[in-house]
Symmetry: C2
Subunit: 238 residues, 2 copies
DNA sequence: GGATGTGAAGTAGTTCACAGCC
DNA sequence: GGCTGTGAACTACTTCACATCC
């Protein structure tokens, strides 16, 4: 089952962040019944160069066939294994305002490799209701055992929530609150700040090279890639 | 008003993404009544090294005072100017499901430099209601003039929405749908995939250096920074 | 022929180390 | 003394170019 040509070398951070993108595209192609994809096609859809795709995938092992591209089933398997989708990771979501609900109801957020095991909220109106198949518990109830906590509470409440996570042994936090969290050594916090994405876009609109025509594109799309693709561009600067 | 020591050199992409983080921290300090901050403090709160902070800020001009750090008011002004907060940018949000609502109601998303000018949704239940001070319009009504569209519709609807944005002259799209968008040259798409953040975290949990203790931290927090800071770590790998 | 996989080159970003100024 | 600002060194990532294999 596990491909023998699998390699377990350490992947670079940018590569890891691109793997979920490749995975989604590959699954789209599988859904469309297509059997193979080459690095040029995958790169165009993912917004990166063909060379980058090949280097990223080569890091997982010898997945392709020279002259014929990649088998999408092989890619799905190997990318999934690299991301740890063969194992399950227990996740609790704390805070079920609009953002928390958007995440737990998303088709893509908690699907692969993650298993939702607990929901918590402070609002008495929300506690006791069922969201995404789980009953929401009071935020001051004991947290169930989990590996990851997703923090979607208001900024003012985030630090207290983080403290409680640490107490019960959750050492990986995904923090959506715009609030710096203080945690002890041994706990990892990853901040996701949705406003940054818009801020960066605004920066480029104001300071971009040129008045929003090709100039912006050069700033936004892949760095100085020649516009080989005639009618489309998928800019994913990150 | 505008500081004369302002510099307008081009900033690197990672620097631009860190400026909103510095801005938020500086504003927190202003709210606390503190007058100055040094690169070490700012770096610790932002999860980067002091050197990185100094290099980032030096890109905006000569903002600090040797021996005394930075005046928080100066930082707020200069970072705000760099990000274009002195100008306003018209933004429409399309799709008012949980994610769209989370964004327009967020305290930080549409505050600085952006002005919300239109909301659109397909659901007849939602159309006509008021959200964040604006009446939601039908998604097939003409879009108002804007510079940026934030796309929060389901993946299946995203391409049609993008096409309509391009038609009415909106050439900067912030796409939250897990869907590759095809747009003509001259339009910039920036994809935000919330699931990637969790995927990357899962990768590190499964493949991290060590069994989730200090090992994970080293993988997640600033790359190999010596643990000088005694009780806290703010990991922000990105 | 055609597309992968990869050494080599190039580019971008970070960190070091210290001169300069308060 | 302390902290900024920055050349220089270093590290990481991307891109080029091509040998390799189907």
């Amino acid at each position: 089952m596990t491909s023998s040509r699998l390699r377990r070398r350490k992947l670079s951070e940018p590569t890891i962040a691109r793997l979920p993108v490749y995975e989604r595209i590959v699954e789209e192609w599988i859904g469309l019944g297509r059997a193979r994809i080459d690095s040029g096609q995958l790169g165009e859809l993912a917004g990166v160069t063909a060379t980058t795709v090949r280097r990223d995938l080569a890091g997982l092992g010898t997945l392709g066939t020279r002259g014929a591209g990649y088998d999408v089933a092989v890619l799905q398997t190997c990318i999934g294994e690299a991301l740890g989708h063969d194992q399950h990771c227990d996740v609790v979501v704390i805070g079920l305002g609009n953002l928390g609900r958007a995440l737990v109801n998303s088709s893509s957020f908690l699907t692969r490799g993650a298993r939702l095991v607990g929901l918590y909220d402070a609002d008495p109106e929300v506690v006791g209701t069922e969201v995404a198949g789980l009953v929401v518990r009071r935020i001051d109830e004991p947290l169930v055992a989990a590996s990851v906590a997703v923090i979607c509470v208001p900024a003012a409440a985030a630090q207290a929530v983080a403290d409680r996570c640490v107490e019960v042994g959750i050492h990986a936090l995904l923090n959506f609150a715009p609030q710096v969290l203080t945690v002890p050594l041994g706990t990892a916090v990853h901040d996701v700040d949705l406003s940054i994405e818009l801020q960066v876009l605004l920066y480029h609109l104001h300071n971009g090279t040129g008045p929003l025509g090709g100039g912006l594109l050069h700033a936004l799309a892949r760095n100085g890639a020649p516009p080989t693709l005639p009618p489309m561009v998928e800019g994913s600067w990150h």
